[in-house]
């Protein structure tokens, strides 16, 4: 039975590592800042969460205790990752980092220009 647990945990650790690796490859391949931000700030969330989850399972199966700190770690990663991702993206946009050339639409730019025009006419 312990072997089954070992295999399950091993597969989960590998899966998390592979997801993180692919996210890193994405950071290298994507064309501009925003798309790289996507790859880094989120796919790694899932990767790290899975690794932490497998550590939790390890403690339950082999040490027979429920390590609540790992649950807290997962929760805090899930809570902080989107905030940092959003703030980094927002800061980049407001300080004028350009979108990649192949970008199709930019509604934010359009709406901001509208707003400025309205201010000028007033």
């Amino acid at each position: 039975m312990t072997e089954t647990y070992e295999i399950i945990i091993g597969v989960m650790v590998l899966l998390g590592a592979i997801i993180s690796l692919i996210a890193t490859i994405g950071a290298l391949r994507f064309p501009d800042f925003y798309t790289r931000n996507h790859a880094i700030s989120k796919s790694t969330t899932l990767g790290v969460s899975i690794v932490l989850l497998s550590a939790l399972l390890y403690f339950i199966f082999f040490e027979a205790h429920f390590n609540s700190r790992l649950v807290l770690a997962i929760l805090f990663i899930l809570m902080t990752a989107p905030v940092s991702g959003h703030l980094i993206g927002r800061a980049a946009y407001n300080s004028g980092v350009k979108l990649a050339d192949r970008s199709v639409v930019d509604d934010l730019k359009r709406d901001r220009q509208k707003l400025q025009k309205r201010k000028k006419t007033q």
């Binding site: 925003y34 899932l46 959003h86 946009y93 199709v104 639409v105 930019d106 509604d107």
Partner: protein, 158 residues
């Protein structure tokens, strides 16, 4: 919700004092009977029974986990496809939820599902500006994601 929970805690402690056993197990039993009593008297509260809200929160959490895994897979597929055929862009998404914390939650959920990242919230809190890695993919699915997330959030705050 806070009032009902406080009442429930009070009932649980009353149970502990009645049984004179101060263990977590007896607290849980007391909490359960307190829930039953609150459920019987639910029509006398101005708010709805708070367990509904707890269930809605749990549902939202699982919905979020599902979206997280599914959309992670789609981004990973994009990354490892040999030709990088992506069309990134920023699009505006009108939102219906109004309270600050609801918008915060919606924006964070959208950010955490890969492929979409909230760049800015408009000044009047009515539009989210979302950067998408592949806008063609997203345009189809975002309405579904938005609907389900928004409905689940409204279910919590109702």
């Amino acid at each position: 919700m806070a009032f009902q929970m406080l009442l429930n805690f009070f009932l649980a402690f009353t149970w502990m004092f009645l049984k004179t056993t101060f263990t977590p197990a007896s607290f849980l039993v007391g909490y359960f009977w307190g829930l039953v009593i609150l459920f019987i008297f639910r029509s006398y509260f101005s708010e709805r029974f708070y367990l509904h809200r707890v269930i809605a929160i749990i549902k939202l959490f699982f919905l979020f986990l599902k979206e997280l895994v599914l959309s992670n897979l789609s981004v990973l597929k994009l990354v490892i496809s040999p030709k990088l055929s992506i069309k990134p862009g920023i699009f505006a998404l009108p939102v219906e939820v109004e309270k600050d914390w609801e918008i915060m939650l919606l924006a964070n959920l959208i950010t955490l599902t890969p492929g979409t990242l909230t760049v800015e919230v408009s000044g009047d809190n009515k539009t989210l500006y979302i950067h998408a890695v592949n806008i063609d993919d997203v345009k189809d699915s975002i309405n579904g994601i938005k609907d389900t997330f928004e409905k689940a959030i409204m279910e919590v705050s109702r």
